[in-house]
Amino acid sequence: MNTHTLKAFAALTVLLLLSSCTDSPKNPIGESKLPAIYPDYTDVTIPVGIAPLNFEVTGAERIDVTVNGKSGKPLHVNGKRADFPIDDWHKLIEANKGQKLTVTVCTRENGKWHAWKDFNINVSPHKLDAWGLTYRRIAPGYEIWGRMGLYQRQLANFDESPILENSSIESGCMNCHNSWRTNPDRFVFHIRGKHGATLVQTENGRKWLNTKTEETLGTCVYPYWHPSGRYIAFSTNDTKQIFHAVNNERIEVFDYASDLQIYDVETDELILSPLVKQPDWMESYPVFAPDGKTLYFCTSRKYEDIGTDYNKIQYNICSIAFDADRGEWGDHVDTLFNAVQMDKSAVHPRPSYDGRYLMFTLCDYGCFPIWHNESEQWLMDLTTGQSRPIDEANSPRADSYHNWSLDSHWFVFTSRRENGLFSLLYLASIDDDGRVSKPFLLPQKNPRRYYDRLMFSYNTPDFTLHKVKLDRRAASSEVLSDKRTPMKVRQGWNTGAD
């Protein structure tokens, strides 16, 4: 065999090998439908800087995907799933801010290629002002908790790291975390169990509080920072669970009692008011308005016989003034949203940081909507007072806890739309006209594998401007030491006498 022949043979071999590796679509059969991709990222709106929306096509042996934008170099991937190179993805998204990307998908099934209908991914003109997300991960259990922790996830890639895991605090329960306007330089979370405490971390260091006092119901539970960073609104809740017998219901979480209090970070005082500490009413989920002058919360009449009256517990959303300079509650409560009139319950009020909207969750009854399939997100326009269900984002299964990004154009929420039990995180945007985009599932490197193998739920997600810095080792020692800062209590409400 001469040299030429050898070279031609070698070249042909290389070509054949390469072609079997890439296996590009040849004469694909045209399909008029959208590809059955998982996760469903068709026609979603994403921010610049988000991690690649990797996906796969159900039933495909191999897929070939091209992403084109008006500007920038198109992306092309070919493999078992669409696994976009992170840097190239970011460049393409950045180049097409405010535009749409067209995604062309071909799949090979039973040896034949199919070319599916193109779909769009819209790149929002609105920046998502956040480094990442913080959340708790816990199994969707009943009365006993196992492994859990608070975690943070960078949005630009798939990196996740623990803030604190309960293995380091002898399996305590931790949750109810909140950053000061998404800035984790001021951070609070609560630990229940043998070494219970409330952490308040500021630029001045960490404090572990014992928030239980003689004058209050129990420990401080659901937190929300005042925009000044000086106060934290808390509820204190006597929470119980009851259990349903039929297949489509599981748990009912409810409060026997709950009240509100405001914690002064500088003086370690709990500021109380009888208006939000009523014996026949329950008050919960306090949040400050972005100007700090108002506190929104939920309130419901109390019922004694929970076994029979559990489905009568329905919350309205109310507001009360707060004077940050004097550290005083207002002298009256206003009803902002009367869910009881609708025979519903409204909980989890969350104002956008620009003061325009108030998002909340509506369900048939109760204060723990994640266990209610019918729960859905609602949006109140604070300028008009009008409220509507966010049909663009809701699903037939539970959609619940949400938080805004600092720029107020994005929100993250938990949803059980995937399987009805495990809560996952979805992000959606809201434009200047109040239109909400189709939500997209938090991206993962290999989403099918990741979400199928994940045996935890995501809870209480929030955006974070930068990484939460917590010295885990020191925090663990401090928790286990049981050294706590006690609270002082003062009555602080404006009687209107001034």
């Binding site: 492994r147 380091s168 259990f243 017998a245 297949n247 193998r453 045996m455």
Partner: protein
């Protein structure tokens, strides 16, 4: 004159009896028989308390923590406990390996045959530690790995330096059994140093080695998400971190001391028959004392739970100790067995009772009781309530393992309730195991097939038994719940059995 030579006498060749090997084998057989005849409930308990999966995520999750390889290997071998006698073989082999490795190390370092009986001490300590039901197979594996390390590294000054990086790696793979390596090597270095009149340098190396070992563990506290005390004790050897027995740490230093003692003791001359006799007596006494340690309250409860799990109803009813040691758990298991046999209402007071509390165990909230309560409710058709107990039982596993038994039950309930997406998730997990993948793949084919599920002997029956009306579960209304279930389906003979038993038990205030 020629020299007379003595006539050569033909000598019969002497056969050296491998008495040490025989004793080791006898020990292995004794351990095997002890476990297979008396402790299968512990083997079953360990098997269902985990769900080993052949995935990279599982491996990475384990290996991320010091001792992770020991835990991974321990869980790998524990999955074979699915066949209890295989579990007994594994334990016997590991205990014997610990004994033989101890002897090999001591022999290499100068032990005489007279010291052979002492070589069983580490293995006996190991078995004593394993009398605690929550001691995991990761410990004997880590112990064997430590002893193998001692065998690989003869105690010399040069090896003491090589051991510095080795111990760091070993600790991360096998955990705090690194103490065994460090303590043995250090003890021998000091002894050798004294013997060779190089005490100063050897003592320095010994101190350095010991200090370094503790330093490696201390450094790991900066990146290992566990409390300090737990890291120093050792993470993966016992599944209940707040109840780690002191025997865990004692067995480590005593092992090092025992091997060092064997190596350093004078080489007394003793006939093999004498040494064998001493060995037999020592091991027999040791095993007897060790066996007594297995008679704990927890192990007793585990024995009942395992009989319920394996549906050995007659064995429960025929237990010899059924009247001697009565607990709410034993009563509940016994009542379940009676109910399954259709004898609960008629023969209720022929067996020990503890009022309504013994019937359903609702006041107890440990994971064993939750399993039994779950099994009772599951069979009655109260599947949602059963689901809660099974789920909580799984969450209460202190080492955060998932459980094959409980995941299987949760899957069955999700299928009965038509929650196929969740069932699929669980089945995908079970499909990654060795012993449950077949079952999981069969169930995956059923999902969504309503006819097949309705006609399934288990799923179809439970669908017919479960309540059609919602109610809130309250233990004090259990009688009315049972009544309602029975009215909705008169085929629910278990509900009927329990209902009939509940009345006299609620009235009765008798305690045995």
């Amino acid at each position: 004159m020629s020299r007379k030579t003595k006539p050569t006498v033909k000598q019969t060749p002497t056969v050296e009896v491998p008495w040490k090997a025989i004793l080791s084998c006898a020990f292995a057989v004794a351990v095997f028989l002890f476990y297979v005849l008396k402790q299968t409930h512990l083997i079953i308990y360990q098997e269902w308390g985990q769900m080993f999966q052949f995935t990279s995520e599982y491996f990475i999750d384990r290996i991320a923590v010091p001792g992770g390889l020991a835990r991974y290997l321990g869980e790998f071998f524990t999955q074979f406990y699915h066949t209890p006698w295989v579990g007994a073989v594994i334990i016997a082999l590991l205990a014997t390996a610990v004994h033989r490795l101890s002897w090999a190390i001591a022999r290499r370092d100068g032990a005489g045959d007279a010291a052979f009986p002492i070589s069983f001490v580490p293995a006996l300590l190991l078995l004593a530690f394993m009398s605690y039901a929550d001691t995991l197979l990761s410990y004997p594996i880590a112990m064997a790995a430590a002893l193998l390390s001692c065998l690989l590294f003869r105690p010399t000054r040069k090896n003491a330096l090589i051991l510095l990086p080795y111990i760091a790696v070993f600790y991360h793979l096998f955990g705090t059994t690194a103490y065994i390596v460090a303590l043995y090597e250090a003890a021998m270095l000091v002894a050798i140093g004294i013997r060779e009149k190089k005490a100063a340098s050897c003592c320095l190396l010994a101190a350095m080695l010991t200090a370094w070992t503790f330093a490696v563990v201390w450094i790991s506290t900066f990146y290992t998400p566990y409390p300090l005390w737990r890291i120093f004790k050792g993470i993966p050897y016992h599944s209940v971190p707040t109840e780690i027995p002191s025997l865990q740490i004692h067995s480590m230093w005593i092992t090092s001391a025992a091997i060092a003692a064997m190596a350093l003791l004078p080489r007394w001359k003793m006939k093999p028959i004498i040494t064998s006799a001493i060995t037999v007596v020592l091991v027999a006494v040791g095993m007897k004392l060790t066996a007594e340690k297995y008679n704990t309250d927890l192990n007793y409860l585990i024995s009942y739970d395992s009989l319920v799990y394996t549906e050995q109803w007659d064995k429960i009813l025929n237990r010899k100790d059924i009247f001697d040691k009565v607990t709410t758990m034993s009563v509940a298991c016994c009542d379940l067995a009676l109910a399954i046999r259709g004898q609960l209402a008629d023969n209720l007071f022929d067996y020990p009772q503890m009022g309504a509390e013994g019937l359903f165990l609702f006041m107890q909230r440990d994971n064993l009781s939750s399993n039994v309560i779950g099994e009772i409710l599951f069979r009655i058709g109260m599947v949602n309530e059963a689901q809660r107990f099974f789920y909580d039982s799984q969450e209460s596993l202190f080492n955060h393992n998932k459980s094959t038994r409980l995941t299987k039950r949760l899957t069955e309930i999700e299928i009965v309730n038509g929650q196929y997406d969740v069932a699929r998730k669980y089945l995908h997990q079970l499909a990654k195991t060795l012993y449950y993948r077949g079952w999981a793949n069969e169930q995956l084919l059923l999902l969504g097939n309503e006819d097949a599920i309705n006609n399934h002997p288990l799923y179809g029956r439970l669908r017919s038994l479960r309540s059609k009306e919602d109610y809130i579960f309250q233990p004090n209304r259990l009688f009315y719940i049972l009544e309602s279930l029975y009215k909705q389906n008169p085929d629910n003979f278990l509900a009927n059995q329990y209902m009939q038993a509940a009345i006299p038990l609620i009235k009765s205030k008798k305690r045995p």
